[in-house]
Amino acid sequence: MLTRAGGGGHGFGLRVPHYATFLEAGVVGADLVEVITENFLDRGGRPAAVLERVRRDVPVALHGVSLSIGATGPLNRDYLHRLRALCDRIEPAIVSDHLCWGSFGGQHGHDLWPLPFCEEAVAHVAERVSAAQDVLGRQILLENVSSYVAYADSVLPEWEFLGEVARRADCGLLLDVNNVFVTARNHDLSAERYIDNVPADRVGQFHLAGHLDRGTFLLDHHGSAVAPPVWRLYERAVARFGNLPAIVEWDDNVPALEELVGEAAQARTRAARVMATGADSTRGAA
């Protein structure tokens, strides 16, 4: 059973161009702030100072990119112990990473590579998630990644794969709505069907971000505002999963803080509207 973070709220990812503002003025326009875990592991100096300042103001979500939970090499226990130490220090509201793999033979690709959706992968990942949660002493959320290629060996729909891993490992899911949209387009799937079939009791957080249309595929580049169809999909997700914590991610061409605050405010407003009007009325709108 998923234990959801208390408080909920809407915020954005903390990025380097905004460190100075946060250090001087603290957090504005966010109910929670998400940070990339690897940027704060064993760090002192400015990263540590800004994280402590942010944590004083709002709850923090730790979002990793290098756990590589789906890799077939040994689980990186050193990384997990360092993450545990960071968790003990800042007491994050949420700890998450990606349902993917990104390393091979002890070497890191620093990318989020998809897994085949099959029983072998479900069993493999679920066992590793359980081991990771044992080290961390808490549940984690795993995010669905954007994908550009599928495996010939995949036999399950992606949502079923996500749900089965979460059920067996007793972890949560971080539903990245933009990733759902990008993946659906890239594999000629229905994004709405995807949202409607992810197990509702496992989703603990949303992500929103921008993508780039490259003609033959959509690229999840986190370099622009959330696109209108992704906002509509988000409303559908809120209707189905509730007003969960939601983070706007923006990594390339990071805009002025005001624009990020505006995106988080839009997420807050849209979620409130969905919750006020009731789930059923938004179902057919996406």
Binding site: L41, R46, N76, H108, H110, D111, V149, F217
Partner: protein, 246 residues
């Protein structure tokens, strides 16, 4: 194909050990975007991300080598030394060493500059020191018998030459973090000798012999020690047990 085999094939296609076409039968695509093209998306992103990480860590090197030569160096380096750390900033750990043996003399000549840039990355990634000495908080009479301990974040490099202003001679270089920013500077020959003595565990009186050739050795020694303290290089100045007992 088993999961480990699939991941090996995918990894090889990313690293350019095999062409994506050789891995394509294990993957699915469609008419508008065949599997091989889809694998190329990942492969381009893999290399772009590695090269970007090195660009971020070595801006001076990038400016000296300019675009294409830097990219060629970065690719060759990543082929030889794939990332071994979950934090991508640590990818460049062995680049200075890799450059020293590079067949292109112009690249090899820049190895010392890369060493300074990498040391800057390292000091910025370090945890805060647990202790920093702010002043000479020891009794004057025992000071000559004290020993100096550096903070862990101080990097002392020995370079083949000054990478910014060639002298034709070996130089010592210090790289450190003070509060939030990284700094580096060349060490004067007497200061370098003094640092070597500190590293050898010599007491303050012994360290001061490094300044014997200065016009005013005592003034020079205090000036250098003051600079070390001001730059937050010194973790502590320890009084020997014998002096405490006395």
């Amino acid at each position: 194909m088993t999961l480990p085999d699939l991941q090996r094939v995918f990894w090889q296609a990313m690293r350019a050990d095999i062409p994506p076409g050789a891995a394509a039968p294990e993957f699915a695509g469609d008419k508008s975007l065949p599997a091989v093209e889809r694998l190329w998306i990942y492969r381009r992103m893999y290399w772009a991300r590695q090269i970007e990480a090195l660009r971020d860590c070595f801006p001076l090197l990038l400016s000296r080598l300019e675009g294409e030569r830097f990219e060629a160096l970065a690719r060759a380096y990543v082929v030889a030394h794939p990332s071994e750390d979950p934090c991508i900033e640590r990818l460049g750990r062995r680049l200075p060493e890799f450059m020293r043996d590079h067949p292109d003399a112009a690249v090899a000549q820049l190895a010392d500059m890369a060493a300074i840039e990498w040391a800057l990355v390292e000091v910025l990634l370090m945890e805060d020191p647990q202790q920093v000495a702010r002043g000479l908080d020891v009794p004057q009479e025992v000071f000559p018998t004290c020993r100096i301990e550096w903070v862990a974040g101080l990097r002392l490099l020995s370079l083949a030459d000054d990478p910014f202003e060639a002298t034709g001679a070996q130089v010592g270089w210090a790289v450190w973090r003070r509060k939030f920013s990284g700094h580096h500077r060349r060490l004067a020959p007497d200061e370098r000798r003094a640092i070597d003595l500190v590293n050898a565990g010599t007491d303050v009186a012994g360290v001061c012999t490094a300044f014997a050739d200065a016009p005013d050795p005592a003034a020079r020694a205090f000036a250098v020690l003051g600079q070390w303290l001001n730059n937050e290089w010194v973790a502590r100045i320890t009084v020997p047990d014998s002096a405490v007992a006395a």
